[in-house]
């Protein structure tokens, strides 16, 4: 080894192999450094410092190694996430525990200011589905009120045919199913409803759930994990917002029904994914609604389908309001746009508690997706099956719809009538704007921005900013004065209508502390197939009169 220089002085007793190893390393490092411009300066520096103090080299090597180790090791999760444990004596601990004062279990501070909300909930004597109802509200009894609040759009589940089915099933199956689907809870009636739903809507399978609101929030998390991508419309309802929150995935929002905005996000995401070069493709979903629950409009499905196929996203549509409502025969958004459900929407969530007038919900899709829900979807696995009579009643409603879809046509005629009555009025448009589409059986009326500003001195942006501000600071009290006033104003319109004209419409009840997306207060007018044309026209006149009177005051 003639060329290998000696690194360590011989006088220090160091095992020979260490000396040789370091000598070799230094020799080859030398060769490498000489290739790099400026390398010889470095060699010179190391040589000099080593000559001055050989131990310094040792310390520096250890430091470098520790630096590398520190850089590579993950930051240690300290136990309980609370790393800065104070060192307290037991007396101090007892004092701290003694001093701790929790907040009240729920926030009582604004209850009195919001009691009007509780008082204005109507209590129906009988069922809220009937055309004429008797209600108690604000301590008053109102008889023979025309009901324009019912979500039983097709009005088929109140027919004797369906009610008789309900009774005969209760006589043969009892009321409850007494078990979850995995353990003897799914009965022949449940399976047969799943078959009928799948056949009716043209998908491979359907899966039943116990309640409409928690279905989306259970289905999406069953298929997503950390690192998956969700691109959602910015106006989705709370049920879907919960799903996005529980999904563990990265969520992006596109502008409401704006396909350019969606495409921009999709292409960017796909580009960045290509760059990342992941070991496996992540699951990607576009999330939207059929008829938006907070605005009443519908998404442009053909463009959505085109985009999702181009960028290889899956499409999730919450059709809680639109199944049984849209399309010539009530088969929903896909039929409205003339598409086949199987080729366009990957996961459809539908409700049996709206147009079909029973209870529960269902998810439509292909067989593989449906099967996985039966293993991985919490609301399916951990909840008892629906009462058998509700399943058979939906089955019967679908059978009626299959034979004769006149109720769907009737509903669409009424929806359009309602829409035209309100959208064509020029006096009214000064005060309220309509966000619904003509086919939505729920007409959303909200104040125009000018009126809102004049009456309550705030705008939609102000509301959202304040909401976000409170959410960020995690305040216990979620109360926004002008918003509360607007809600109260809308409720007064509802009350006035009830008193003066005997018509029941409703405020869109929204829980502000739960919402995470921009929204605005609105009034809802619902029509159903059980009404008469002249009743709708007459009540439209009364509603407009009261609206104009209230808004111009």
């Amino acid at each position: 080894m003639p060329h290998i220089p000696e690194v360590l002085p011989k006088s220090i007793p160091i095992p020979g192999f260490i000396v040789t190893t370091f000598s070799y390393i230094w020799y080859y490092l030398n060769l490498v450094l000489l290739q790099i411009p400026g390398g010889d300066f470095l060699i010179h520096y190391v040589r000099k410092s080593h000559q001055d103090d050989p131990y310094r080299t040792f310390v520096e090597i250890v430091l470098i190694l520790y630096g590398i180790y520190y850089y590579l090791s993950k930051p240690q999760q300290k136990k309980g996430l609370q790393s800065n444990r104070p060192n307290l004596s037991s007396q101090e601990v007892d004092d701290l525990i003694e001093d701790w004062q929790p907040e009240p279990i729920v926030d009582p501070s604004v209850m009195e200011l919001q009691r009007w909300r509780l008082d204005s909930i109507p209590v129906i004597d009988g069922t809220g589905v009937n055309k004429r109802v008797t209600i108690f509200q604000n301590g008053r009894r109102h008889e023979n009120v025309l009901n324009l609040s019912s979500n039983n759009f097709l009005h088929l589940s109140q027919t004797p045919r369906v009610l008789n089915v309900a009774k005969s099933v209760i006589q043969n199956y009892g009321v409850g199913a007494c078990g979850p689907a995995g353990f003897y809870g799914n009965q022949d009636v449940h399976y047969n409803l799943e078959y009928r739903l799948a056949d009716f809507f043209g998908t491979e399978s359907a899966v039943l759930y116990g309640q409409d609101f928690c279905t989306s929030a259970s289905v999406i998390p069953a298929f997503t994990k950390r690192g998956d991508l969700l691109v959602a419309d910015e106006k989705v309802s709370l049920g879907v917002q919960n799903a996005l929150q529980l999904s563990r995935s990265t969520v992006y929002y596109y502008e409401h029904n704006n396909m350019e905005s969606l495409e921009a996000i999709l292409s960017e995401l796909v580009e960045s994914e290509k760059k990342e070069n992941l070991p496996a493709i992540s699951r990607k979903f576009i999330v939207t609604e059929g008829i938006f629950q907070n605005t009443g409009d519908i998404p442009p499905l053909p463009q959505l389908v085109e985009l999702k196929n181009r960028y290889k996203f899956r499409l999730f549509v919450d059709e809680t309001l639109s199944l049984g409502v849209l399309g010539k025969t009530g088969r929903g958004l896909t039929e409205y746009y003339g598409l086949a459900r199987e080729d366009s929407i990957d996961i459809t969530v539908g409700s049996m508690a709206h147009a079909f007038g029973s209870s529960g919900a269902f998810v439509l899709g292909d067989a593989v997706m449906s099967h996985h829900q039966r293993i991985g979807s919490y609301a399916y696995c951990f909840s008892a099956s629906l009462p058998p009579y509700t399943a058979r009643c939906v089955d019967e409603v679908l059978r009626i719809l299959g034979e004769d879809h006149s109720s769907v046509n009737q509903l669409q005629k009424f929806s359009k009538l309602l829409y035209n009555e309100f959208s064509g009025d020029s006096t009214l448009s000064k005060y309220v704007e309509i966000t619904s589409c003509p086919f939505s059986p729920i007409l959303h009326l909200r104040l125009t921005p000018e009126l809102r500003y004049r009456k309550f001195g705030y705008s939609a942006e102000d509301l959202f900013c304040e909401m976000m501000h409170q959410q960020k600071r995690v305040t216990t009290t979620r109360y926004i004065e002008p918003y509360e006033q607007e809600e109260r104003f809308l409720q007064e319109i509802v009350n006035r209508l009830l008193l003066e004209s005997g018509i029941l419409i409703t405020r869109n009840t929204i829980v502000i502390r739960q919402e995470s997306l921009p929204f605005l207060p609105s009034l809802k007018i619902c029509v159903n197939s059980g009404l008469q044309e002249n009743e709708i026209l007459e009540s439209c006149r009364s509603i407009k009169k009261v609206l104009i009177k209230s808004c111009s005051e």
Binding site: Q82, V123, Y184
Partner: protein
């Protein structure tokens, strides 16, 4: 799934819709709710008057059983991976569901679904057995034939009446006649089957208010609110009053719905070992001192979440001790009585009743109406000012469907029967029958030599099987003997503690339980399940109990009423 017409030589591939059996009324009634055979077969539970209950002793199996169980899993896992490897190399067509295809990710990954594809699927015939009719004393299971290792089933169109130890029908209210059914039918006439929309908009009827008032007074609380789905009750409850500056202290065995609900609320969660009161106190003290992570500000509120009766273990929460801790440290308490309300306590009012704890000391009493009451949905009971606030802040009452009228009618009628307002005496008999049945079956199984978990009065009786391969064997052999049981394994239980869970009901008679004991004893011998060491039962000349089944049947009915025969 193909067309409805598609048929195999062994039957249709879709579950057929069955017409109800045409049985004489008395036979039908007897099938749903067996008549009491002797006054001896009743037991009145006594309140513990605030005394805490000793934690039940969990027997452990001999070492060789644990070893065999692990080996069992190892073999299944090795073969599963081998199967996966070969399948994905040579049989790409049948493994499309876990493979990337043309730029699309699969619905679920190979790794995530390994357990369900390679292990659960092999015993899929033991789960989701379709049934028809009333899930009462007997349950009518629809026969099915498995094909391609449970790839699909065919249905020849026949049914078998099985003794029902699977349904959550604790008080036997799953009936197609009687007072409950009559009022459900009446409500269809007056109210129909749909409420029109969310509770705050149009869905509140006089029937809802009546049911809520009744539940509140039954539980000894000021007010209650009811929901249409039990899972949804918890899943959308915690976000109405908790936020990320609040802390939830949760028992490690709490139900998935509680965990989902808490996650949705954003609150921080700390868990304590199942029923470990010392650990709980230590955790509370530590958390009050440390406060929130990073900022170290004190928590806004601390909520302790426990269940009354744990559905997989059959154990009870130590309520008196939890209440004491809760009071001492100013925490709030949430008790999920999904399984215990109706089924437990001297008057069926759940764990508070059993332990003699004042319900006012529990801030939130939650429960389901699906189980003991034979209806559907859940409730939350609390003080009036709290419920008033919750009605405005709960998402379920503002956005979701309300409970339909026939279900409400069933709830009201069954509650009034339990309280004794309706058909006096019937409610009491139901409560005494479930208490007797639970104790009889539990002591019987213990004497036969099985390892059984849980509290003496618990109507949930888990019998430990350990080896996962014994689950399908047990379940299939029971089905051959016309007994419907539920087998559960990982992830619902710890890995090696696969078990069969008997859910006892008031509708069963002693003869039914004797029939069950004889068959379980026989199967237990065949599958080597009698493995108890005697640690969890009253000692008898130092040997583990291995009674003869006829002795058990002859002597247990009297003994089971005596607390001395249960080690707690």
């Amino acid at each position: 799934m193909g067309d409805a017409e598609v048929k195999d030589s062994t039957g249709s591939i879709r579950v057929p819709l069955f017409v109800p059996e045409n049985l004489p009324a008395d036979v039908k009634k007897e099938n749903e709710y067996g008549t009491l055979t002797s006054k001896e077969h009743l037991h009145q539970t006594k309140s513990l008057n605030g005394k805490p209950m000793e934690p039940p002793i969990m027997d452990t199996p001999p070492y060789y059983i644990s070893l065999i169980t692990y080996l069992n899993y190892l073999i299944v896992i090795i073969f599963g991976h081998l199967h996966d490897f070969l399948g994905m190399t040579f049989q790409k067509d049948s493994h499309q569901d876990v493979m990337e295809r043309d730029g699309w990710a699969p619905w679920y990954s190979k790794f995530e679904s390994f357990f369900s594809r390679r292990m659960k699927k092999k015993i899929d015939d033991c789960f989701s057995r379709p049934t028809t009719g009333v899930p009462g004393r007997f349950i009518r299971c629809i026969d099915r034939i498995s094909h391609e290792e449970n790839g699909y089933f065919t249905y020849p169109g026949t049914t078998s009446m099985c003794l029902n130890l699977s349904s959550y029908n604790y008080l036997g209210f799953a009936q197609s006649e009687g007072q409950c059914t009559a009022s459900a039918l009446q409500s269809v006439d007056k109210y129909g089957i749909h409420s029109g929309g969310p509770r705050t908009q149009i869905g509140t009827t006089d029937l809802h208010l009546e049911a809520e008032k009744l539940i509140a007074s039954f539980l000894g609380k000021e007010d209650a609110v009811i929901f249409s789905m039990g899972y949804g009750t918890n899943a959308n409850f915690f976000n109405s009053f908790l936020d990320s500056k609040c802390l939830v202290i949760s028992d490690e065995l709490n139900h998935a719905s509680i965990r989902t609900g808490v996650r949705l609320s954003g609150a921080a969660v700390r868990t304590f070992a199942h029923n470990d009161m010392v650990g709980l106190e230590k955790l509370i003290r530590e958390q009050i001192v440390l406060g929130q992570p990073k900022t170290n500000r004190p928590w806004k509120k601390i909520l302790i979440c426990v269940e009354g009766l744990y559905s997989m273990e059959g154990t009870l929460c130590s309520l008196p001790e939890v209440v004491e801790l809760k009071k001492k440290y100013k925490c709030y308490l949430f008790v999920d009585e999904a399984h215990s309300v109706g089924a437990m306590g001297p008057t069926g009012r759940g764990v508070c009743d059993l332990f003699g704890v004042d319900p006012k000391d529990v801030d939130f009493l939650m429960g389901t109406l699906t189980k003991s009451f034979g209806a559907a949905g859940g409730y939350i009971a609390s003080n009036k000012w709290v419920i008033d606030r919750l009605r405005l802040d709960l998402t379920t009452s503002n956005y979701a469907e309300p409970t339909p009228a026939p279900v409400l009618a069933q709830i009201i009628a069954s509650l009034r029967i339990i309280k004794g307002d309706l058909v006096p005496g019937e409610g009491k008999e139901r409560l005494q029958r479930i208490a007797f049945n639970s104790r009889y079956l539990r002591l019987g199984l213990q004497r036969l030599g099985f390892i059984v978990y849980g509290a003496p009065d618990s109507p949930v009786i888990p019998l430990l099987l350990y080896c996962p391969t014994k689950m399908p064997a047990f379940s299939r052999m029971m089905l051959q003997r016309k007994i419907a049981v539920v087998v559960v394994a990982y992830p619902a239980t710890p890995l090696i503690e696969s078990r069969v869970r008997f859910c006892v009901s008031s509708s069963l008679t002693k003869d039914d339980l004797d029939y069950l004991l004889r068959h379980v004893s026989e199967i237990g011998d065949m599958l080597f399940l009698k493995a108890s060491s005697g640690a969890a039962s009253v000692p008898q000349d130092g040997r583990p109990p291995r009674w003869d089944v006829e002795d058990v049947i002859a002597r247990t009915a009297k003994d089971c009423k005596d607390d001395d025969f249960f080690l707690t």
